[in-house]
């Protein structure tokens, strides 16, 4: 287990290093934005992984509520934590990129606001897990996860329809649509590297959470056995 982790961690490290090389050196400099566009190779993979983590969290929460399966709950905690980490990366790299390109750090457009709200909801999810007492935490936080998932769609539409118009962000090459083919390898390598990194984090955190659950159960059983005497 420990060796497997070390081996995988080394693999992820190599992948991330190669991704960094691809993004910083191999990829061509963007015509209008210059070098700052390279942040894109970190920004987009982080965003994709954050959304992926939160989707898995939602599915795991629903599974937990239906089957009361401790593994589903462990997966839900794990993906929420890893998702918050990647979402933080998105929210930090976004303004860093926006400032030189759009001239502003932040704009309340639909996508930015939904990402921020997603982050807020999942931070509140983690707080709830921390504050909820013992055995109730999984049920309560699963319920919150479902609320959060439903809410994000509403936030996106609310921002598109009702917020006063801010300068529309010009997203060069976002979502792969306008991306120059010469930039594709850097994006794909980083996407692969980040996915491997996220998978590693989820896996090791999942093992920790399972160990914690088993320990808790053992304690509970020991207390029960001791109480019988």
């Amino acid at each position: 287990m420990k060796n497997a982790f070390m081996l995988l961690a080394l693999g992820v490290f190599l992948l991330l290093s190669y991704g960094l090389y691809q993004g910083l050196v191999a990829a061509p400099t963007e015509a209008t934005m210059g070098n700052v566009q390279r942040i894109f190779y970190y920004h987009l993979p982080s965003a994709i992984l954050a959304f992926l983590c939160f989707t898995v969290n939602f599915l795991a929460s629903v599974t937990y509520l239906m089957k009361r399966n401790a593994r589903a709950d462990a997966l839900a905690v794990t993906t929420a934590e890893v998702g918050v980490v990647f979402c933080t990366v998105v929210l930090v790299t976004g303004p860093l990129w926006a400032r030189p390109v759009w001239g502003i750090w932040w704009t309340w457009d639909a996508r930015l606001t939904s990402t921020l709200l997603l982050w807020l909801i999942y931070v509140s999810y983690l707080m709830l897990r921390r504050f909820a007492s013992g055995g109730q935490a999984p049920v309560l936080s699963s319920a919150l996860a479902i609320f959060g998932f439903v809410d994000v769609g509403f936030v996106y539409m609310a921002n598109r329809w009702f917020r006063t118009q801010h300068p529309q962000p010009v997203l060069f090459g976002a979502e792969g649509s306008g991306l120059d083919p010469s930039m594709r390898p850097a994006l794909i390598w980083n996407l692969v590297a980040f996915t491997a990194y996220a998978a590693l984090l989820v896996w090791i955190r999942y093992r920790m959470e399972r160990a914690r659950q088993e320990l808790e159960q053992a304690h509970a059983l020991a207390a029960l056995a001791g109480g019988g005497r």
């Binding site: 509140s124 319920a143 539409m157 009702f162």
Partner: protein, 224 residues
């Protein structure tokens, strides 16, 4: 026991309790009054400006004040293990939830009725659009705050430091509703455009979240 009769008797009990103690209402009213006064000191808008910002101020004040009442909803049932008795009784959980939502809705509605005139005096407000449209905005908006608020008050009841937990859970979830409420109110006050779209949005939000609350409430009530 039917859903309707349990809802009605539980609601009647809550209203009677509130009528005799007036705990929630007094606390909410005074809190909202303080928020209004502090807002008036913080901003000194002209009549034109206040039309633009009042929608936001009013709803933020109501949201904060509602949390005061929501925090008391379930805490009241902890005394004498009333909530535990509810859990083992065959009464439908939905009835308990609905009665709490209706009770809170009435409390917050009373608060809004009393505070709105005060707001318009302090901020020199006069709607340029159709004033009657503020009524559906208030109805749908209050329902949106109260239905999720009652649900998350039941969730935060099970946590340590529950009083602070409720706003932490409720505010992120309420953001879309708040955006629509503020937008609708501002449109009516400034008379720039029809408030139809945000109203429809609020109605859909209410329907969806009421459904989600009803689906999940029993699970949360029985969480062990």
């Amino acid at each position: 026991m039917s859903l309707l009769s349990v809802t009605r008797s539980s609601l009647a009990k809550d209203l009677r309790l509130e009528w005799r103690s007036k705990d929630a209402l007094n606390a909410m009213l005074f809190f909202a009054l303080l928020v209004v006064v502090i807002f008036s000191f913080s901003f000194e808008p002209s009549a034109e400006e206040s039309r633009r910002i009042a929608g936001g101020l009013v709803w933020v004040a109501f949201l904060f004040a509602a949390v005061v009442a929501l925090n008391q909803t379930w805490a009241r049932e902890l005394r004498n293990q009333v909530l535990d008795a509810y859990r083992v009784s065959p009464a439908p959980a939905d009835a308990l939830f609905l009665s709490k939502v209706l009770g809170n809705f009435l409390f917050v509605a009373v608060l809004e009725l009393l505070m709105t005139p005060l707001f318009s005096v302090f901020f020199d407000l006069r709607a340029l659009g159709a004033t009657w449209q503020l009524l559906p905005v208030a109805l749908f908006g209050t329902w949106a705050l109260v239905v999720n608020g009652t649900f998350f008050a039941a969730v935060s009841l099970r946590t340590r430091s529950r009083e602070i937990m409720l706003p932490l859970l409720l505010f992120p979830i309420s953001v879309p509703a708040l955006i629509a409420m503020v937008r609708a109110t501002t449109l009516i006050l400034t008379g720039e455009d029809s408030a139809f779209l945000p109203l429809v949005f609020l109605a859909v939000y209410d329907i969806v979240f009421t459904t989600v609350c009803l689906l999940l409430f029993e699970t949360v009530l029985h969480a062990e």
